[in-house]
Point group: C2
Chain length 571, copies 2
């Protein structure tokens, strides 16, 4: 549980400020993360890493000479927005291209991927590497679906050394992929973690039991075993990882025995005593082992063992000097402070003025965001509970945060006289920046796409609304990588868009068309539900048991219903 | 709570093994602690630090170039024995004398003090420095009675830098005393810590409350306040410490915001954000702040703030390069591995054979230790509970561990044919080595003193027993620094010794004299008790409420009663 806190919503950002103050000779804060405070050679490949917060020392603790050039930090357990990733990359770029490194989670894949696409469109060569070391998260043969846990650290360390050595982007990417392909981790937990401001942990493990194969975002494990002694756990770790050894493994390994936050250093050293012995007994030579907290999950109790099978090249990069806040190896030589890059003006000074008709529509859109924010705030806890059944329980928080930020930005734009398209775009950008996570990225993207169907010169027509919704659906489906039926937002969005378009095409007025579409969205969201059906709407059991209710589909249906009320006000 | 454990009794020793394996380029294990693994200039003053275990990275994490030369490690929260401290010092000595640094706790003061006395007797110049930074543990004006908490780290860092610079022992001692005199800490806790193998924490803090002014051994705080926000806590820390600023403070401070083990780095950074602001607002310049875990108390939740007011000399020593496992500043240049010092033969190869009469007495003494060990094992939990009311709750564990080790050593000696004096001395030495803490040191000392009244050539007379008991009492009182009536072991030992001597002088046979003395010891132990009196022994309320029961007095009375049974067997 978190005791030291001011405003829980500002927890991650305030912690990053405090961190940058302590390590000001190594890092400096930037909007959305941290950059090296030291001068870096022009032309060097930049390694930009990141993900959600709550994993200290991941990721800001690994920025420094011989390691990463920058880290992007989302909110607690929430991916940073594509715009933040992009902006941090632009500031970290030294002309040699960028490798973006992150753990293989949907939100990070989406946001870092979208940022890389945008960087390439702007002429900056950018590659992405999703770390996939957690053997418990998908079967052998399906390695690309595995999550990234403490293997992030060996992969980023090795890639950072390659970049510092002056290797070109192709080589740095090759090395990073090789390191990832030769890295395996396995983790266990004794107790779940508690989000700042929350009263209870995200999951709990029964007394006398150990959860096996958990993630680092409060996801429970894939199984449970009875409590065992440290020496037995060492055998479990080592034997499971050795079953997964890569091809041509050799007999040299880098090792990280990682504490998840609530397991003490003394305990980790006790376990390491047995792990080291178990590795030696199998003829493996351990190179510069790390034992301690390297990627945590707030106060989760538990640990993981990571092995990276080294060849000669990987070993020399693993041992290469580095100097970051949380990892220091050898001697990186004297550092000179970097020049202060003038941060681009972040806040848009003003919006283009729209016509008075379009501004009136913009004001209505801002009013829509305001009602949406109120509805999401009210539904936050319930959406969190629904999400916790299948995900990490942060959906409600993300929707509340995103819609609140959108409401504020849209209101500012509307007051400044902006037209409908600009108000909607301002809301979408703010949503993506503040909500974090997959759903935040998708909502931001969808609103941005929708805004392109409007303009700043005229009132909004029903036809435009239908087109905007269709565009949003198309882009969300393309970049999100899911299909209707996958139990996502799309299960509500697709019937909404289809119904809305058909009704508008048939000449139905906007309010009525939106009402029909909202009903369709609610049905779609319910189709992912395995609950007692509403009274009077009994469905066959087969349909009812299709699966759990998806938080993203539910929140979209709620948003549609809220906007219907706003449309009703102005009739 | 500790989850990763094999045998809880071996927890601290195993953790130290694992630590030394991970940091083998910096430290190497030695009996009782760790030494630098790197070569150290002959003639340099050696800084030897230490105390109980359970405080990682204190103390082994601070051994390395520019910091300590060695760390002595007792068991969890228990001081290492004087013999271990002495032996580690001998191995760390480079001809320049030794400064022994430790927190101001009774057990450490006793053991490090006794070790220094022995070193000086052997011709090695040794000084002691007990750190006294905790402002909550004694009032202003009574600074020498204050405990040492995270201020250990600034004082040892500065003293270590002075020694590395080649300053002579007088200067290193002066600098260390100056640093201690200018260092203040204040701590709070949200929850107590749990000893390895134990099922419940040593103390707990009610939900929504904060314990103020606690120690680092599971001692509860001196008071309680309602839960406050991080920014308010920062104000509390800074304002309390500034009230205690030393004379001529200046405006430059070293700062450590120390997590006690169960409080996460992110939380500490959130708090630091406010602490840094509070210090700046008061015009103080913070020099190279440390925020993280620097001296923990197992998994205790909480933190402390330490300030050391710097003058120019202290500031340059605080910033000087160092390279230890857990603190690295600047660049200490290339290190060469140290030569392997041949460890002295630790285990005595054999005992001098005694006469058959004396060996028979030695066997009886060994039998006494065996019964004592059984009794202490049985009473361990109860003695722990009694101790927890006033101390850190480790008395039962220490007595059980010490008496078990004594029984084994005494048995070995008796089987090898040793006489009474040697068997008793062997038991006493083993007790001191394994029990740790104040009581372990005092029991070891007392048994050693007692053994000097016996010999290896004859049977033991009642007169010798009385003399032995008297000598033990005298030495325990002198070195322990307490007086009868202070609610210590002496409250039972003094009436025991007086009664025994008087009875023996009057010609009473040993069994009966011991019985009378045991009764007196039990009365003495009861006099420190504030409990419902035994049936039939009603005492006036005034006497009953004199105070709590002292665990040391109770365990001595129990020991006396146990030995009486052994004497009865052989009648």
């Amino acid at each position: 549980m978190t005791h030291l806190c001011n405003d829980p919503r500002e927890f991650a950002a305030t912690a990053l400020c405090g961190f940058c103050d302590v390590y000001s000779s190594i890092v400096k804060p930037t909007s959305g993360g941290v950059l090296r405070a030291t001068a870096t050679r022009p032309g060097k490949v930049a390694l930009v890493i990141g993900g959600g917060s709550g994993h200290f020392p991941a990721f800001a603790g690994y920025v420094g000479t011989g390691l990463a050039d920058a880290a992007v930090a989302g909110d607690i357990f929430a991916s940073p927005s594509a715009r933040l990733v992009h902006d941090v990359c632009v500031r970290a770029h030294r002309g040699g291209g960028i490798l973006l490194g992150f753990g293989n989670y949907a939100g990070d894949v989406l946001n870092f991927g979208a940022a890389a696409t945008r960087l390439r469109a702007e002429g900056i060569e950018a590659r992405v590497l999703a770390v996939t070391d957690d053997i418990a998260s998908a079967k052998k043969g399906d390695e690309s679906r595995r999550r990234g846990i403490a293997g992030d650290v060996t992969v980023f360390k090795i890639a950072g050394a390659a970049a510092e050595h002056g290797m070109p982007l192709d080589e740095v990417e090759r090395i990073a992929r090789l390191a990832n392909a030769r890295t395996r981790s396995f983790g266990i937990a004794f107790a779940g973690c508690t989000l700042p401001g929350a009263g209870a942990p995200l999951f709990s493990v029964p007394v006398g039991r150990i959860a096996v194969g958990l993630g680092v975002h409060g996801e429970p494990g894939i199984g449970e075993i009875a409590m065992i002694q440290a020496s037995e756990l060492a055998e479990l770790f080592v034997s499971r990882l050795l079953e997964e050894a890569p091809e041509s493994p050799g007999n040299r390994v880098a090792a990280i025995l990682n504490g998840l936050g609530g397991t003490k250093y003394e305990e980790l050293f006790v376990l390491w005593d047995s792990v080291a012995e178990a590795l030696r007994r199998r003829g493996l030579g351990v190179v510069a082992p790390l034992v301690g907290e390297y990627i945590t999950s707030l106060d989760m109790k538990g640990c993981s063992l990571t092995l990276t099978w080294l060849d000669a090249e990987l070993e020399s990069l693993w041992m290469a000097p580095c100097c970051s806040a949380s990892m220091r190896i050898g001697d990186t030589g004297p550092a000179t402070p970097g020049t202060a890059e003038p941060e681009e003006v972040e806040k848009q000074a003003g919006w283009p003025r729209g016509s008075s008709e379009s501004n009136r529509a913009g004001c209505a859109i801002a009013r829509g965001f305001e009602c949406l924010a109120a509805a999401m705030r009210e539904a936050e806890a319930e959406l969190g509970c629904i999400d916790a059944q299948a995900g990490d329980g942060d959906h409600g928080m993300g929707m509340a945060r995103g819609s609140a930020a959108a409401a504020e930005a849209a209101n500012d734009a509307a007051i400044a006289g902006a037209g409908a398209a600009s108000v909607l775009a301002a809301g979408g950008d703010a949503w993506a920046d503040r909500a974090g996570g997959t759903s935040g990225a998708l909502w931001g993207l969808g609103l941005r796409s929708a805004s392109a169907a409007l303009d700043d010169n005229s009132a909004v027509t029903a036809k435009q609304v239908a087109t905007a919704a269709t565009r949003a659906f198309e882009d969300v489906m393309t970049l999100g990588g899911a299909k209707p039926g996958d139990k996502t937002l799309l299960d509500a969005l697709l019937p909404f868009v289809e119904t809305l378009s058909a009704a508008v095409d048939a000449g139905v007025p906007l309010y009525t068309a939106w009402e029909q579409a909202t009903n369709a969205a609610e049905s779609g969201a319910e189709n992912t539900r395995n609950l007692v059906p509403r009274i009077g709407r009994a469905r066959p059991l087969a349909e009812r048991s299709k699966g759990h209710r998806d938080a993203g589909a539910v929140s979209f249906a709620l948003a549609a219903r809220t906007i219907l009320q706003v449309l009703g006000e102005s009739r």
